[in-house]
């Protein structure tokens, strides 16, 4: 058994272990549970890209966009957090709500 076969096994195992995260995405009682599951899948995508690079024997090619994923992966999570900070149901009063009213008026 070579290391490539082992890598394929690791990739399949990672994908199978992603099933709980996919379950959270499908069932998840609240939206936030879905976001947590999506975040988990995103982190594991980085690892899977490295693994696919090892399987193809061209890690130096695949490492670049694993690095891109690692750098940019949290943009979506931060955007969701910023959204809920402005429009969350707890209704924290912000200075920007006055801007909202300006927006509606204009």
């Amino acid at each position: 058994m070579t290391f490539e076969h082992f890598s394929i096994g690791v990739g399949v195992a990672l994908l199978l272990l992603m099933i709980p995260a996919m379950c959270r995405i499908v069932m998840g009682p609240t939206t936030m549970d879905r976001i947590v599951g999506a975040n988990m899948v995103g982190t594991k995508t980085t690892v899977l890209l490295v693994i696919i690079g090892v399987i193809f024997g061209k890690v130096d090619m695949f490492i670049d966009f694993a690095l891109t994923y690692a750098l940019l992966n949290f943009t979506g999570a931060i955007a969701a957090a910023r959204y809920l900070r402005h429009k969350g149901r707890r209704g924290i009063v912000l200075a920007s709500t006055s801007e909202e009213s300006v927006c509606e008026r204009a």
């Binding site: 130096d60 090619m61 670049d64 966009f65 690095l67 891109t68 750098l71 940019l72 949290f74 943009t75 931060i78 955007a79 957090a81 910023r82 959204y83 900070r85 402005h86 912000l94 200075a95 920007s96 801007e99 909202e100 300006v102 927006c103 204009a106």
Partner: protein, 272 residues
């Protein structure tokens, strides 16, 4: 009722598309269009490009060479499409206020000073400490990596579009962490509009330059005398790099313009 009709239409379309799968060429079919040769030649086109790309352009990554050189027209107008999308969003959404109205809401102006601060006019600075600190580490490295992707498009995957998207995302991260004003202080509105147009101008300008040397439009080999490269192949390589720079400029500024206009509905104040 509406949904029922939509479902039926989708099922029929899917059935027709699945039926058309039969007409595809098989894998490795010698008579399929990609394998049947360049302009009646005997070598199949994919093999032709794989064999000749390095000899013609000195670019190891075939995809970059095909996109920016063999298919240069296509990429030029793709860049123009991106610019058009940015201009369309700008034209639909952007709201420009008169001066007197501007003064009534002028308290926001201090956020646009370009300082990367974790406490801006929203008065929620303490909530931004974690995200702001992380972005202070990540954003410069993301921009450096974006330039690496643009410059490294020749030997490895990457190039103008991908690097431009990474650069644009770094500005979006800046806007998410420190408020839109902090990002607009770094890349002002007139700046990004000029950059977007300049990118397409650089691309088309390189093409026009080769027209001046009595060659075809976008035939970078004509620039060998201008660039003092010695051979037409290296001139093509440098031409591809210049074109990638233009694409990256347009994509960076259009991506940031889309985010800035969409998240504030054209006000460029407050926002996400």
């Amino acid at each position: 009722m509406q949904k029922l009709f939509a479902t039926i239409a989708v099922i029929i379309t899917g059935a027709i598309l699945l039926n058309a799968v039969e007409d595809f060429p098989r894998f490795g079919d010698p008579h399929s269009p990609p394998n049947s040769g360049v302009s009646g030649g005997s070598v199949s086109s994919s093999v032709h490009y794989l064999q000749n790309t390095y000899l013609d352009t000195r670019v190891p990554n075939v995809v970059t060479a095909v996109l920016a050189d063999y298919r240069g027209y296509d990429t030029l107008f793709e860049t123009a499409v991106i610019l058009t999308a940015g201009i369309a969003v700008f034209a639909i959404l952007r709201v420009v206020r008169r001066k007197d109205e501007e003064e009534s809401t002028g308290s926001e102006e201090k956020a646009c000073s370009g300082e990367f601060s974790t406490s801006d006019s929203d008065g929620e600075g303490r909530h931004r400490v974690v995200v702001g600190t992380a972005c202070r580490v990540v954003v410069p490295l993301a921009q450096l990596f974006g330039f690496y992707i643009i410059a490294h498009g020749h030997p490895s995957p990457g190039g103008g579009f991908q690097g431009g998207v990474v650069l644009g995302t770094s500005f979006i991260l800046l806007a998410l962490a420190g408020g839109l004003g902090s990002a607009l202080g770094r890349l002002r509105e007139d700046m990004y509009l000029r950059l977007a147009c300049l990118g397409v101008f650089i691309y088309a300008g390189i093409g026009l330059l080769s027209l001046f040397f009595r060659r075809n439009f976008l035939d970078y080999g004509a620039l060998s005398g201008l660039l003092q490269t010695g051979g037409e192949e290296m001139a093509r390589s440098h031409g591809i790099f210049g074109v990638e720079l233009g694409v990256a400029m347009t994509v960076t500024s259009v991506m940031f313009a889309l985010f800035a206009n969409l998240s504030t509905r054209g006000e460029l104040k407050g926002g996400l």
